[in-house]
């Protein structure tokens, strides 16, 4: 394993020591430690992990499931790939601790189809775990008291399957169409059983929390965002790659660290994230400021930001599951709008209509894909006004016919 350096995930840890420690604590103590650490989901939405686990644990049920979301589809994100390649044991250990805490005996790793080349590494780790009986516990009489097994399931090239209810649909053998929420997966998840879905990085942080304590974890990061974040940096910089940074780091510091010069914009959070102009580079990576699953794409001065907005919208057009109207119909209209803007054929009135459509999509779409699809477009239009000229002609065309 290459020796990477970082405050949490890349700090050293003894293999499976945290799981052993968890078994010696009781379930509620493990849940308590996770809650106390204030850790929030690392996949993007930032839901409190302890709260999610506590909800799943408190529902009466015959079975429960743990799902690791390794669908990593957000453009510009590749940190989960690194974790699964270099730290698979840590991720599996986090899942087993979660299983013990909520009372689940089975976990799934939902791996995006693009990453199927990782399967041999992951299977090798799993077979060692099974051989060693690393995730099982016998009581004093030699009977099995707890047992946890993990199965890998592959996705098949659909970004929306990273949304947790779509992921569950996909696991059940259906089209990956997001469900209505509520009910939430913690109540009715896989096959109707309580299920927790967490990001790869979330699980990788858990063993560190159990072993080193909630207090230690909270000492890293900011008041509201405890711990660290893995960021995936790409675009115009000398040293693209995965970095572990404490929450609260500014964009300016990241640019310096990665050797980016002459930067005009940073897209934080991938296609569904927001575009930050140079004058705002003192903003921080944190849930209270720029919340992100970790994608950081750097644009130098020579780049055209409308081209980026167009690229993101094309991506959403391709990936929308088509279930609900605001997203299915809205994305193509925004895409057409960007094309008009680039050609200088968009009037001020037309742009206002586009922005109001964006707002409708943000609140009326069924899942996070449609809700966040307009984000990059809106931030680019609002913050990079000098990159386009509005048409002086009073646009006869309207965004909506009717």
């Amino acid at each position: 394993m290459p020796r990477r350096q970082g405050p949490v995930i890349f700090s050293g840890i003894e293999r499976y020591a945290a799981f052993k420690k968890a078994l010696e604590m009781d379930r509620s103590a493990v849940l308590g430690e996770v809650k106390d650490s204030n850790i929030r989901g690392r996949g993007g939405a930032g839901f409190p992990v302890g709260l999610k686990w506590g909800l799943a644990a408190s529902v009466q049920a015959e079975k429960r499931f743990v799902v690791c979301n390794a669908d990593e589809g957000e453009p510009g994100t590749f940190k989960d790939k690194l974790l699964l390649t270099e730290y698979p044991a840590l991720v599996f250990e986090g899942m087993a601790i979660a299983g013990f805490a909520i009372g689940a005996n089975k976990g799934f790793l939902y791996l995006r189809g693009e990453y199927r080349g990782l399967i041999p590494v992951l299977e090798k780790e799993l077979s060692e775990i099974r051989k060693e009986g690393a995730f099982s516990k016998k009581d004093i009489t030699g009977k099995k008291a707890f047992d946890f097994d993990i199965e890998i399931r592959l996705g098949s090239g659909a970004y929306v399957c990273g949304e947790e209810t779509a992921l569950i649909e996909s696991l059940e053998g259906n089209r990956g169409e997001p469900r209505n929420r509520p009910p939430f997966p913690v109540n009715t998840g896989f096959l109707g059983y309580p299920t927790i879905v967490n990001n790869v990085e979330t699980f990788a942080a858990v063993p560190h929390i159990i072993l080193k304590g909630a207090g230690w974890f909270k000492s890293i990061g900011t008041e509201i965002s405890s711990g660290s974040k893995l960021i995936s940096v790409s675009g115009d910089c000398e040293k693209p790659g995965v970095y572990e940074v404490p929450f609260g780091i500014t964009l300016r510091e990241i640019l310096k660290m990665t050797g980016a010069g002459d930067t005009k914009a940073v897209q934080v959070g991938g296609a569904s994230g927001t575009c930050v102009p140079k004058r705002e580079f003192s903003r921080k990576i944190a849930f209270e400021d720029l919340s992100t699953g970790g994608s950081v794409i750097i644009f130098s001065r020579k780049r055209n930001m409308l081209e980026a907005a167009e690229n993101f919208l094309r991506f959403f057009e391709e990936e929308s599951c088509g279930q609900c109207t605001p997203c299915r119909e809205g994305v193509p209209v925004l895409l057409e709008g960007v094309e008009k803007l680039r050609k200088g054929e968009c009037s001020g009135k037309y742009l206002d209509d586009l922005l109001s459509l964006a707002e409708t999509m943000q609140c009326a779409s069924k899942c996070g894909l449609g809700q966040s699809a307009p984000n990059a477009f809106v931030s680019i239009v609002e913050k990079f006004k000098n990159e386009y000229k509005l048409s002086k002609k009073r646009g006869k065309e309207r965004v909506f016919n009717g």
């Binding site: 453009p75 590749f78 693009e114 080349g117 659909a158 996909s170 096959l191 980026a308 690229n311």
Partner: protein, 160 residues
């Protein structure tokens, strides 16, 4: 048909083989992925057989197959080359790579060569953003691809 996982059994019922396990339907995607790998597509007949095996309607199988971009109802080439066209890749010249493949294979992106050896596609982010331009060749991710490397990649694949 081989069971897809250890939890599965195959039993004979009324002279027909059926796969049983506590969540049979949930095995549909692995079964389809296996077919896609072995045959390069999922035929009408496959869909009918799989539906019979799982006790569901073939239309349900069809609706799943058509949802996922890595599953197809038309036969793909022996090798599938996917060029990432996400923004990090476009910035580093992925379209030049697409054009080099198009020229070398004499097809357009989205098409399959006449000898069914190669399919060329564009795809979204493949998690190789720091090594752009990047491509996915069958199951393998390859980074820092230059248009000049395309001929060699194709030559190597022909030998496989």
């Amino acid at each position: 048909m081989k069971p897809v996982c250890a939890a599965e059994k195959i039993i004979e019922k009324n002279g027909r083989k059926i796969v049983v396990c506590d969540d049979t339907r949930s095995r549909l995607l692995p079964i389809l992925q296996d077919r896609q790998d072995r045959r390069g597509y999922i035929s009408d007949k496959d869909m009918q057989n799989i539906a019979d095996l799982l006790g569901i309607h073939p239309v349900e199988v069809y609706s799943v197959v058509t949802f996922y971009s890595f599953l197809s109802t038309e036969k793909k080439g022996k090798h599938v080359i996917r060029v990432s066209n996400c923004i990090s890749n476009v910035m580093k010249g992925s379209e030049k790579v697409v054009r080099a493949f198009e020229k070398a294979l004499k097809i357009k992106a989205g098409e399959t060569t006449g000898d069914r050896q190669f399919t060329l596609e564009r795809t979204g982010c493949i998690g190789m953003c720091d090594k752009a331009p990047a491509i996915m060749v069958d199951t393998e991710l390859v980074g820092n691809v230059k248009p000049g490397m395309v001929k060699k990649i194709i030559g190597d694949l022909r030998k496989r």
